[in-house]
Amino acid sequence: MAAPGVDPITLEVVTEGLIAIVREMRATIIRASYSSVIYEFDDFSCALFDPDGQMVAQSWDHPGHVLPLPWGVGCALEDFRDDLKPGDAVLLNDPYRGGTHLNDVTLLFPVFDECGAPMVFPAVRAHWVDVGGMVPGSYSGLSTNIYQEGVRIPPIKIVEEGRVNRSAMALLMANMRVPEEREGDLNASFGACRIAEQRIRRLYDKYGRACVEDCIATHLDRTERRLRDRIAALPDGDYCYEDYLEYFDDGRLDPVLMRLRLTVSGDRMIADFAGTNPQVPGVVNSSLAVTGAGVFVAIKATLDPGGAVNQGAFRPVELRAPEASIADVRHDAPAGAHGEVRKRAVSVTLGALSQIVPDRVSGDLCGTSFPNAIGGFNKRRDRQYVYYEAPAGGNGGFLQHDGPSAMVNVDFGNLPSIQTVESIENEMPLLVERCELRIDSGGPGTSRGGLGMRREVRLLDDEGSYSVLSDRAVIPPFGVLGGGSGAPYIVSVVRDGGETGFPTPGKVTGHTIRRDDIVVMRSAGGGGYGDPLARDPASVRRDVAEGLVSRAAAAEVYGVVLDDGGEIDGAASEAARTALAAARYRARVVADDALDPYVGGRGRRRTVRFSPAMAARLGVSEGDLTEVMGANPAPLRAWVTVDAGHIDDTVLLDPFGRKALGVEHGDTVVLRPVPTPGVPGGLA
């Protein structure tokens, strides 16, 4: 296994030693950064690269950050390949050149030995709270192009042979809010890189270049082998799924389509996003680096938990996407909500994987990063402030267990999504009024989806500016194997006792709030796993006793009727379950290979044609969202088109739709409505 000359202990000491260096970098960043997102939320990543730009070590890093990092390093090396000298450092944040979104600023710190030969080197990517642009916090739900999202930094040498490029620095800082803190953030990244440089030199001194390189090659190869073995054990074939991101065009909801064909072929996988929506002038686009991170996380977290994560692990998965699509953004579409694209890539990959390994997937995750920002001037501390929190929602239920509540999704890694109330109130003119789990938000299922949370923040200053950029605020996380949807995200403002929502749910930019206004943030629940009518009644009873599920939902969704003392009424429950099962609406599949079910403005959304009688039976009308459940675990979402000429009790399906559902002509599907919040502007 080990390369010639590398004994197993040395192999482990060196590979673990590299990871330990990353760990030390992380500790430095956390403790020395100024941006609250960095220090409180671990919204950063550190990694070590070999001179070819292969990621050789990372640690407990945010997968959404660290997985696309090699693309950024690759772009920088491409630009400066023969032009890097000792003492140079490269800065970048360009989403079109290996960045994620503009707030994530990446520093590369090349390291050379005394002969000038390149060594392993560190890179840090950290989320700066503000990089300029039209709103505090920089990225905004209403951006239509990247210039509104802040300063774009293509790979530049911010330090040349040890001398800081003051002009570039001054230009950057002049275009960011609270520049002294941004400089502090950059210093933290430099500090981490300097520590790493010392440790790397020590490692080379102790073991020698050849040994270190052998260890790295061996380690990357064995990581690759491990994932390939897992993939090889799966049945070859194509597995298809689709899902949406929420784009608003002039106030009208215009869902954009993400479509995935996941191919298993021997010991490799191909994730092909053909058919995915072209990019749009809204914040639902990202780079293939980011989309690929979502695919990778879903594959790794279901097939190979516990394996190492480095360049070797990326090799078995090939990515394809149409250029200038939401999955591979190009100039000058905005890229602020990279997390949303990544998360939807996780959703579609989970949907496809559910067809291969139904025992290992979960219901959909809450599915958005939910960054809420309040900015203003803090008179007490005589400085500007930016409050930033992303209250985590629920996770999908899975075979063995209910989904965890209020816990960040697997693509966020170990990131805590909220600050402690006491930190916030010490530093900002805000008062947290309430923070609790959100009853009935978990998707119903044999294993229930986890609950979202409700967090309320009151402004204690005269005026502030509120922004949020959320998905899954209309189209909720899906359940699998008959499990129900989680409740979608909701934000609102309470003023003088009256609560007001927003006309574009989940997308708010620079909304002015006044003293004593309360911003109410509700995060989504996770999708359910399995039929809720098969859930153990004792679990439903316990959920009611713990206040996680209401008595009404217990009866109406789970068919578990509780008496006044909270105990299960066996006879009534059995009757309720029988009635609920009987009321399910089944329709017959009619294959239509010529059908193009998608409509939209810039977006593309699947429609399903119902007769008036079908719509009445389901209690839906034109433009409502429904779900079609077939033989495969995950349902398809479709918007209703009512057509008087449509044959009752039938559903027309295109080839992709039939493939995604695992059904053929003449098969039966189950239809059910998906309740969504109102959008005053309607559908595009």
């Binding site: 673990e16 430095t28 220090y39 671990d42 981490a192 790794k300 190979d304 989970l350 816990m407 960040v408």
Partner: protein, 677 residues
């Protein structure tokens, strides 16, 4: 002539399997050891039995120090009290929501730990304090009483009071606690500000909830123990080893049991530190292997790492503690078959009852000890703790079901069990060494505990460590450590101020008032003022940063500028840069230390013949075959004489194994040093 008073210092360490005791006579400088089986149902019984085994009357004891793990075990095994929480309205889910982060990456089935207090056992209180300690909404006492009445407290329940910003103003929490005590005088009650007066509510609430979780259990135990010791004539303070490596009075441990969760392992680390200074070995990895679990700690340059950010089980515990990594593998760990017939060892342990199969006390599962007996590394028929005779036939019989399933001979199976146990310990050591950037080859392995010396060389071999030190009295090493540990109380206070603005006088004033209280507490617990020392430190950061850095403030720091300079220096050293920006103090910390006289252990007499130390030769299994192996009596090994492996060294309470590639010798203090050839 004045009566010299009682002469003995006694340390007793209660482990999962055995209870070990050490007595040191300050007059004669002599040491006595005892080892008795633990009595998990009633741990104090074994403590009393250990005193009897030492043959010391209570009235002859000057100072009784105790290491206990019952609190830790209760947390790890989920056997703590039913805790009810009274919390600021709107925040009943703080423990459940926690920080919303994940315990593992890249695993879709990761779960959150269950909160110590479930939702249905919380009641919300109407009140609100602001960050500066001012009261936004006063306490509504009538509604508090109603909330207390709504709790259905069982006989073993505990109550924790957790209110926002209580570190800045503890008044509301204290009043609520008083009202609880009024209604339920028998119930254990604590407040978050008494347990940990620091900001960040999740960590404070969780630490306080853990304190309540083990409070009733520890109080019952300590009352019982004090009562029994009094019955034997010991009327002085009972001291408890604490997680920070110091000791505290039992009275304080009753209020703050969470500060004792690492009580057991802390004693061993204290003793290892002492050994390091005595022998000049400055880099040590300690490996304390008992019957149930193994604790490892890395001492670099004689510095014991103390952290305020550990977790116990999956729970945040912010009381300061030695950085120790624990793995559920020890002599009593049971071998079993995992899915797919993969041989696994632990974490389930046969413990003291029934114990390994070879104890003949009803155990039928094969354990690590049984495996060592099969391999003849332990001697068949020999007696442990005086009365347990090891029965090799029973050990072989216990192996039978595993042999059948795996198709292995008994010797090969036994060797496999030992190797797997060793691998688990190696993995625990990697986490504190390699994973933190230390090369284990730069360290000496210091192994103790009843099962430590038996596996030390194998562990070292796996880690490529070339030197091992096995202290004298390895089975009682943790108990010895408790005798030499100072009394130590850590106090922390969250108070935000900028040195440059407020000046040194105010900083000094905060420290002085903390010190006054700390000294008074120690004096009230019987420590003479001249033996009390205080160490100051500050949690500081640059204005705008959110994580503070601990900065030691020695006596010579006497100005705000000097405070800042100390912080800049630490920041630079730790993070590679400093800033010209304004600084801020967040947390004041003091360690109040009551010094204890050091032990003066006598050197062993030199001379003697190594051959005379051989008690027998027996066939011991190494590398696939039984080999003729000399067995030495440790007490008769002369200093500096070279012992060549394979060899076995026996003593009361422990057996040392030297594999074929190892040699060893005893130093002048009776420590065994093993080296790879």
């Amino acid at each position: 002539m004045q009566d010299p008073g009682p002469a003995f210092r006694v340390g007793v360490d209660v482990g999962g399997t055995f209870t070990d005791a050490v007595a040191y006579d300050d007059e004669t400088r002599s040491v006595r050891y005892a080892k008795v089986p633990s009595t998990p149902g009633d741990p104090a019984e074994a403590v009393v039995a250990a005193l009897e085994a030492l043959d010391i009357e209570g009235s002859d004891i000057d100072r009784f120090v105790h290491g206990i793990t019952i609190g830790t075990n209760a947390i790890l095994e989920g056997r703590g009290a039913e805790v009810w929480m009274l919390v600021t309205r709107g925040f009943r889910d703080v423990l459940d929501i926690a920080r919303t982060n994940r315990a593992t990456l890249y695993d879709i089935t990761t779960l959150k730990p269950l909160p110590i207090v479930p939702r249905s056992r919380t009641a919300e209180i109407d009140e609100r304090i602001m960050f500066d300690g001012s009261v936004l909404a006063p306490l509504d006492e009538d509604r508090v009483r109603a909330a207390i009445d709504s709790l259905s407290l069982g006989p073993d329940a505990a109550v924790v009071v957790c209110l926002l910003h209580s570190y800045a103003f503890p008044g509301h929490e204290r009043r609520v606690a008083a009202l609880v005590r009024e209604a339920h005088p028998e119930v254990f009650v604590c407040t978050s500000s008494d347990v940990l007066p620091q900001f960040r509510e999740y960590e404070r609430f969780n630490t306080a909830a853990l304190n309540a979780y083990i409070g009733p259990l520890m109080n019952r135990y300590l009352s019982d123990l004090e009562h029994r010791l009094q019955g034997r004539g010991y009327g002085r303070n009972v001291f408890i080893m604490t997680s920070n490596g110091g000791v505290s009075t039992a009275g304080r441990a009753r209020r703050l049991p969470i500060a004792t969760v690492l009580s057991g392992p802390a004693g061993g680390v204290a003793a290892a530190l002492h050994l390091g200074s005595r022998t000049g070995i400055r880099n040590l990895i300690t490996c304390d292997m008992g019957g149930t679990s193994t604790d490892v700690c890395l001492i670099s340059d004689l510095h014991v790492p103390v952290t305020g950010e550990q977790t116990i089980g999956s729970y945040a515990n912010r009381t300061p503690q030695i950085e120790i990594n624990t793995v559920g593998a020890g002599g009593g760990s049971i071998a079993w078959l995992d899915a797919g017939d993969i041989l696994a060892v632990g974490p389930r342990s046969a413990g003291a009852a029934p114990g390994p199969a070879c104890y003949g006390k009803g155990g039928t599962d094969a354990t690590v000890t049984d495996a060592n007996l099969v391999l003849n590394r332990l001697k068949s028929g020999s007696r442990l703790a005086g009365h347990i005779a090891l029965d090799r036939d029973r050990a072989v019989a216990a192996m039978a079901p595993l042999m059948d399933r795996l198709g292995l001979e008994v010797d090969a199976l036994a060797e496999g069990i030992v190797r797997i146990a060793v691998a688990r310990m190696v993995s625990a050591i990697k986490q504190i060494s390699i994973a933190k950037g230390f090369d284990p080859r730069d360290f000496v392995l210091c192994s103790y505990g009843g099962a430590g010396p038996m596996h030390a060389a194998s562990i070292a071999e796996e880690m490529d460590i070339s030197r091992v030190v096995l202290p004298r009295g390895p089975g009682n090493f943790a108990a010895l450590g408790s005798l030499i540990s100072d009394i130590r109380q850590d106090h922390a206070l969250t108070k935000t101020l900028q040195p440059a603005r407020t000046g040194y006088a105010e900083i000094d004033g905060v420290f002085r008032s903390m010190e006054e209280e700390g000294r008074a507490q120690l004096q009230a617990e019987g420590v003479a003022p001249e033996h009390i020392a205080v160490r100051r430190s500050l949690g500081m950061r640059y204005l705008g940063q959110s994580w503070e850095l601990d900065v030691d403030i020695p006596d010579e720091v006497q100005s705000a500028e000097a405070v800042d300079a100390a912080f800049h220096a630490v920041h630079d050293r730790r993070f590679g840069h400093r800033s010209a920006g304004a600084t801020e103090i967040v947390t004041f910390r003091i360690a109040v230390i009551g010094r204890v006289a050091p032990l003066a252990l006598p050197a062993l007499p030199g001379g003697g013949d190594l051959a005379a130390a051989v008690v027998e030769r027996r066939r011991v299994y190494f590398d696939g075959a039984f080999r003729d192996t000399p067995v030495y009596d440790r007490g008769r090994i002369p200093p500096e004489a070279a012992i060549e492996g394979p060899a076995v060294v026996e003593e009361a309470g422990a057996t040392t194994v030297l594999p074929p590639a190892w040699r060893g010798y005893a130093n002048g203090h009776g420590d065994l040093i093993l080296e790879r050839r």
